[in-house]
């Protein structure tokens, strides 16, 4: 069994074995090194970072356990961290993901869920399931914004993001809450007033 998550897409060659979370610049000290046959991996130079900066990021083996959900504050910190930047760069988290399917037309719906019994139960899990530090919450605005179209303000469909159905529904719930609490700014229709309805009646 591979100790390293292998991504189907070739564009992003840095996410195969994800670097540790560095929330608050603390590193997890996992010792196992990925095998030479692990395939695409993040370059050690990219991970090392500038000299004299934060301690270099490490690769760690894939963690399939999803029984302990990560708190949203950790996720918010993760999105600002060097580990996130090294993994995803400035692109949305779903950009590098490619679904595996038969034929050149993908099925209309993505899979129902990637997580069964508290564990990742699929190869090639969706962008939100594969990284346990991406929590879809109404307070995690930096992540939610990645799933909103820049030009039309719509929530992107699973055909673009590749999220499994359960995570997509979580995303929709998080968006609804974000609009309710006002954490995510969005446009509303322009209201035209008929002044005659509001003018005081002639005294």
């Amino acid at each position: 069994m591979q100790s390293v998550l292998r991504l189907a897409g070739t564009m992003l060659c840095r996410s195969t074995a994800r670097p540790c979370l560095s929330a608050g610049a603390a590193l997890c000290q996992s010792a196992a090194r990925p095998s030479p046959s692990a395939g695409l991996r993040t370059s050690a130079v990219a991970l090392a970072g500038p000299v004299g900066a934060e301690p270099p990021l490490e690769l760690r083996p894939l963690n399939k356990d999803r029984s302990n959900p990560v708190p949203v504050e950790t996720s918010i910190a993760y999105l600002q961290s060097a580990a996130y930047r090294a993994t995803y760069g400035s692109e949305p988290v779903w950009r590098s993901y490619r679904r595996n399917h038969k034929g050149h037309i993908p099925p209309r719906k993505t899979r129902r869920t990637c997580i069964r019994g508290g564990q990742l139960s699929t190869g090639n899990p969706c962008p939100a399931c594969r990284d346990e530090y991406l929590v879809l919450d109404y307070r995690n605005v930096a992540l939610l914004r990645q799933f909103v179209s820049e030009s039309t303000g719509e929530i992107l469909d699973t055909s673009r993001t590749g999220l499994c159905q359960v995570k997509h529904r979580e995303l929709l719930a998080a968006m609804t809450k974000a609009r309710e609490y006002g954490t995510l700014a969005f446009d509303v229709p322009f209201r035209v007033y008929d002044y005659n309805e509001y003018k005081p009646s002639a005294a």
């Binding site: 039309t152 006002g182 700014a185 229709p189 209201r191 007033y193 002044y195 509001y198 003018k199």
Partner: protein, 366 residues
């Protein structure tokens, strides 16, 4: 601050008039707001940058490619006039009204109906050609009383049966504390105000609370440019002039060297201070925007009207400076700061004129 205390939106019978009932008497801002003179001033105070006014809203609609059209001069003039008309529509200021009064009225009492239903029944007339504010909505209480519905019930039932796009049946939590303060601290003023316009009626006490909190925050942070070229700048200017707190905005205009805007703001302030509500009987004059009548008088005689275009810039600037100085001396709260800003402006413009003169002399020699 007192106005930021959490209010339950079930304040059916409360006449919450804290914001607009300040001052000597509880004056009704709607008596002044709809005057054509005030409306013209609110329009002129706006920057009116076309790029920002016509910025498209992202509402999930299908995007269309821009069209390139060949036009004759007449077509171009027609198009320009159409754009001006659309500009006015886009910059329509949300009405400023006092808080609404309760409208519950008992229509009939039928004690024999008690126990028939265990909950209140609301009835609405859903005829499509009625105004939502005037359509008949009644309530039958479990004890048999038939009464007209209160404002809260009216809002809910109207939204259920005749929904307005962008509005929710219950008030979004972003308009309650602490979420409102968090939104304002993130400086999302236009987003909050736009949503408040869609969600509430202008005389809803919650609308007045939300907009007052936003304008206060903008004024405290001096971030007036966020509201520039939006419909809310006029409402902000009206709010500040109504509550006699135009000093910060005046300072902003002086520092940006927009003396004509500063004069318009002072004129708005004076119009709103007049004891008599402004009538639309006397038509507005062109000279009105630069009047320097006495601070306490509400008469409309323009003794020093703005000079004609044949006068030099420095003359009209002098008139504007006189008006501003008159306000600073008589009515301002932050007198030293404003005087300093005015002095800086005068110094700067004198320097600029001197440099221009020397430039012209040097060019003449060449």
């Amino acid at each position: 601050m007192a106005f930021r205390r959490l209010l339950s939106f079930n304040h059916v019978g409360n006449n919450f008039c804290r914001k607009y009932c300040q001052g000597v008497a509880s004056r009704d801002p709607s008596l002044y707001f709809f005057s054509s003179r005030v409306q013209e001033l609110l329009f002129q105070l706006n920057d009116r940058q076309h790029d920002l006014v016509f910025k498209p809203r992202k509402l999930g609609q299908k995007l269309e490619a821009p069209q390139y059209v060949f036009m004759t001069d007449e077509d171009l003039d027609k198009e320009r006039r159409r754009i001006e008309q659309r500009l006015r529509e886009k910059l329509q200021v949300p009405p400023v009204l006092g808080p609404r009064k309760p409208i519950e009225r008992v229509l009939a009492k039928d004690p024999r109906l008690e126990g028939l239903h265990d909950s209140k029944l609301l009835c609405i007339d859903i005829s499509p050609d009625l105004s939502d504010r005037k359509r008949m909505i009644t309530a039958r209480e479990p004890d048999g009383t038939l009464r007209t519905a209160n404002w809260h019930e009216r809002g809910r039932i109207n939204q259920i049966f005749l929904p307005v796009d962008g509005r929710t049946v219950t008030m979004p939590k972003m308009f309650e504390e602490p979420h409102l303060t968090e939104c304002l601290d993130r400086e999302e003023y236009v987003s909050v105000l736009d949503r408040a316009c869609v969600q509430f009626e202008p005389d809803d006490p919650d609308y007045i609370r939300v907009t007052s909190a936003t304008y206060d925050h903008v004024d405290a942070a001096r971030l007036y440019e966020r509201l520039q070229s939006t419909r809310h700048f006029g409402a902000l200017a009206f709010y500040l002039a109504w509550h006699r707190r135009i000093d910060n905005l005046l300072l902003y205009f002086i520092q940006l060297e927009k003396l004509d805007q500063a004069v318009k703001l002072i004129h708005l302030y004076r119009l709103l201070r007049s004891a008599e509500p402004i009538s639309d009987q006397t038509p507005p004059t062109r000279q009105e925007s630069s009047q320097s009548d006495g601070f306490s008088s509400s008469s409309e005689s323009g003794s020093e009207s703005e000079s004609s275009s044949s006068d030099s810039d420095s003359d009209s600037e002098g008139v504007q400076l006189d008006i501003i100085r008159d306000y600073i001396e008589n009515a301002s709260v932050k007198r030293p700061v404003l005087e300093l800003a005015l002095q800086n402006f005068q110094h700067l413009s004198a320097e600029r004129r001197r440099v221009e003169r020397e430039q012209r002399r040097a060019d003449g020699r060449q």
